[in-house]
Each structure stands twice: as structure tokens, then as C-alpha cells.
């Protein structure tokens, strides 16, 4: 399960809506509590908006610079927190994990997809891809007011 607090969620939605009609991306920072009654719970307290570095049209593509991810990881470590997930948006499209998402994913993090329709946030889902980049399992996602 991944839970996103109000501050982080507001930053994610604002980034997704500001990037519309393009895709946005960013890093989620927080802590993981192992073995609660709900299993492992990832709590996101900071959302770091990162630049979409995809070189072509960004309406349906995004790319994170590894350097930016490294900087986000350093920021998390400095705060005594962890980099626990990646988020990106799907403008005018549902929050599913596409073939492109899967083929360019990494199994170490939660991937939150935000659907933005007509410039406004619509819904979101979280996914856990496997190491072979062939399957992504849906993960329970809790955001404020959901």
C-alpha cells in the first residue's frame, strides 16, 4: 500500500495540471513501514517535481533524467527519508500502466499514474512492475479525500 499525504499530493496534482497537455514526471519521497497490519506501508511526504526530459512530443511520453533521480535520492537521504516512488501523468487518458510505461520501468519503485482530463486531475492508480518489465501489479493507493 502507498499513502500520499496532503502536501505531496497537492504538489503532484499541481505539477500534472501545469504540464497539461504534456505528461509530467517526478519523484516521491517518504518512508516505508515494514510489516504493519496492512503489510508494508509506503508513506509519501514529499513530491519532487522533475523535468520531463523526453526529446520528442511530450503529450504521451515522459523521460526522467537519471541525474535528476540521483539528486532526488540524495535529497531524500539528507532528510533521513527514502526515494520510494515515481509519478507521471496521462493527459486525456486513463491512469493505466501502458506498454511504454512497462517497457521503460524499474521494479524497485511504486509508479503512480495520474489521469488529467481537460486540464484537471481525474483519477490515479499505482503499479509495481516486475524486473523483466513484462507485468505490473496494481498497488493500493491512498491519497487525500480518496
Amino acid at each position: 500500500m502507498i499513502k500520499i499525504n496532503e502536501t505531496a499530493w497537492a504538489a503532484m496534482v499541481a505539477h500534472a495540471e501545469a504540464a497539461y497537455p504534456n505528461e509530467c514526471c517526478g519523484a516521491m519521497i517518504g518512508q516505508t513501514t515494514i510489516g504493519t497490519i496492512d503489510g508494508d506501508v509506503k508513506s509519501v511526504t514529499i513530491a519532487e517535481a522533475l523535468e520531463n526530459a523526453y526529446a520528442g512530443a511530450q503529450g504521451a511520453r515522459y523521460e526522467l533524467r537519471p541525474e535528476d533521480l540521483l539528486a532526488a535520492d540524495k535529497k531524500a537521504r539528507a532528510a533521513g527519508l527514502d526515494l520510494i516512488g515515481i509519478f507521471h501523468s496521462h493527459p486525456d487518458c486513463d491512469a493505466y500502466f501502458s506498454k511504454t510505461d512497462l517497457e521503460n520501468s524499474c521494479p524497485w519503485y511504486s509508479f503512480v499514474v495520474l489521469s488529467v482530463k481537460g486540464g484537471k486531475f481525474d483519477h490515479a492508480n499505482s503499479f509495481l512492475p516486475n524486473a523483466e518489465q513484462t507485468v505490473a501489479e496494481k498497488e493500493e493507493l491512498i491519497w487525500p479525500k480518496s
Partner: protein, 108 residues
Amino acid sequence: MAKVLIPTPLRQFTEKNDSVELAGATVAEVMAALTQKFPDLRKQLFNDEGKMRSFVNVYLNDEDIRYLQKDATAVAAGDTLSIVPSIAGGAAVREVERTLPVRPAGGV
């Protein structure tokens, strides 16, 4: 000894250490020492053919080793290695819809 920073999700394979000090003269030697010390980490970083997984990047201090001498890059005492994934994606559905031919009604 060089320091390897371990991403959070991989710490379950490194006895919860967030960094590990290892000996090695090159990136390849340090990475080999890492997976020798923590064998369960191997399949996270390398595929069945022993090649580093496509999404795994290694940075020496703040430089991507692909722009240095790749895994033959020399490592000095006090250097820091970071494991950073490549991540991209996108809905990509609208582009597909635009390029797919429209099937005529009635079939073949």
C-alpha cells in the same frame, strides 16, 4: 575502499545497509564484490546472461560511467558509486490511435 550507495528497495538484499564499503580497482570489480557479498542482489542488477539490466545505470561520484570507461572505469579509494535506474514511459496511446489504419466495415 569505495562506497556503494544502495537504493531503498534494494536494502532488503544488503542486510538493510544503505551503503556498503567494497574493494575493487574498477566499477566491474566493485559491482562483482557487491553481488558476491549479497548474492540476492545479483538478479536485481543483472539478467540471466550476466549483463547489467537495461534499466540499471551506475554513477561514479556524479558521473554516468557510460560516458567514462563503462564498467572498466577506474575506482579510487573514497569514490562513491550510485545505482540509478533509467525510467521513462507514457500513455503513447493517442499516437497509436492516430497512426493505426481504420479497418473498413464489413471485414474481409
